[in-house]
Symmetry: C2
Subunit: 338 residues, 2 copies
Amino acid sequence: MSLTIALDMMGGDFGPRITVPAAIQVLENYPTLRFLFFGDHAEIQHYLPTSHRALSERITIHHCSRQIYSDTPIAQALRYSKGTSLRLSIEAVQKNYADACVSAGNTGALMGLSKILLQAIPGIQRPALTSLIPTMNGQHTVMLDLGANTEVSTDMLCQFAKMGSIFAENMLDLVYPRVALLNIGIEAIKGLPHIREAAAKLEQAIDLNYVGFIEGDQLLNHIADVIVADGFNGNIALKTLEGTAKNIIHLLKDNERSQPKWCAVWLQQLLRHFLKDKYQQLQSFNPDKHSGASLLGLQSVIVKSHGSSNSLAFAHAIEHAILQVKLNIPEKILTNLS
Amino acid sequence: MSLTIALDMMGGDFGPRITVPAAIQVLENYPTLRFLFFGDHAEIQHYLPTSHRALSERITIHHCSRQIYSDTPIAQALRYSKGTSLRLSIEAVQKNYADACVSAGNTGALMGLSKILLQAIPGIQRPALTSLIPTMNGQHTVMLDLGANTEVSTDMLCQFAKMGSIFAENMLDLVYPRVALLNIGIEAIKGLPHIREAAAKLEQAIDLNYVGFIEGDQLLNHIADVIVADGFNGNIALKTLEGTAKNIIHLLKDNERSQPKWCAVWLQQLLRHFLKDKYQQLQSFNPDKHSGASLLGLQSVIVKSHGSSNSLAFAHAIEHAILQVKLNIPEKILTNLS
């Protein structure tokens, strides 16, 4: 199967400096993959290695001089989006030139433009930003919505639960994934009315393995395969999780300052050696290493990579999009709902 | 100044086993302090050291055989609260027998009974659960509401901001503390309507140093002295923060399994020695070490200690209550509002 992915080359904090090497790396692993690059031609060319001519043949550069910056307010970004690398990438999917779109750019603009330009899956009122979060036992949990919808209805939460369940089933290869609702307690009377109503509805849903409420302190403990929240709380929870993990990792990495001068190099190396495994597991909680968030509920695959992505993270996001196209995630959601 | 504190001896996961030693420890540090103990007389007596007769003279035990368990649903807990150690402790404050009440028991019941039995400060619609959270630079940030009010109005958020600011000013000894609103972005158009409206109002408030929105990933970074949220989001954020920190600390402490057998004891000790400072800073993020949460907005001082508190944590919570009484926090809020 030959796939074509549209890439917004200008998005994120570093633009072509990281998007080009990421794309090249992914091309090497997928011999039939093709890319449509949207962005500044000269800048992209600057980072394209001349030695990779064979790979370059599978890349088509669509020059555009305009781009949406990460800090552009959403309303303004949407109003002046014509001809930007982000909008052109999404339009490539809209016009069926590409199977998926990946961007590390302005999240609000990516979600807004995707909703405007792409078709929603019938039965889904609003797409939800969905991500895989690592758990303490080395597995993953699907979490949604992470910020696409600040205000949601009971029905929307139930739709998120269904989409999340199908996503987990396919992406994590699970049978009957456990679905939980984010709440501030586990008793039935806890939380907000629409969350309690969603819980009552999900308990009745025979196609879902609803396991109850989950609290913020259990997110990493793999007690559910899918965690459903509105976009406001999902975003607060994910960012708090990422911020705490990042801060603590930083605290631990900051070795040099805390060790006395007489502490010889070999001792530092010894320390590093023994903490290696732990650092590696800790690193999995670092948002820069994530494979990006998917906008679930559209008939196309849209993946948002973290704004601060390095080339490894952006490559992961591209591979994440490829996997979703290969597994036909949007069609599976469509089939399940109808 | 002689102070009397009412203690719910039966609350929390361990009851008198930790509440009695905690109280004794605090009595040693405060020569004029008196305690009213509410709980099972025999059980309390069992943990009271016979050698501390001088201290025991400052303790009055009020026997009661009933208690509210942490997992009792709130509605039921409130309905059958008469004669429980928790309710009697709050009633002691209501009847002016005690200056403050401290409990590690059922949070919902503590908040519910406090609201029913104690007077609110005029101008405050609803009390808010308030805590000090540690920051990466070794300081603290005041955060509220952490779960007392799941649904709030614009005015309530503004009242929380004022109470939090006065609390920070006095408890952290700050001048013009920086106040921020928890949101999912820092642009003015981000988030929910009542949060945006609160932001607009707080910007106009000359008695407050409002600095804007704060996101979940910045909670530990001391960019604000007061973080204001509704009880639902505040609870999600705090629990996510605590759960992430606790999980990562656990991962790092789990030394024995990850080290090879030939690794001698001295090496382990060396490792522990070098990581000591880091562990200590990490431990400050452990919820078990916190000094408890205060229910701000009432004319009395009510402090909730973590359900899993050990005696050190419960002692911290008592000292936290003493400090609030000494600093006259409820009266300072009252004066500032009128």
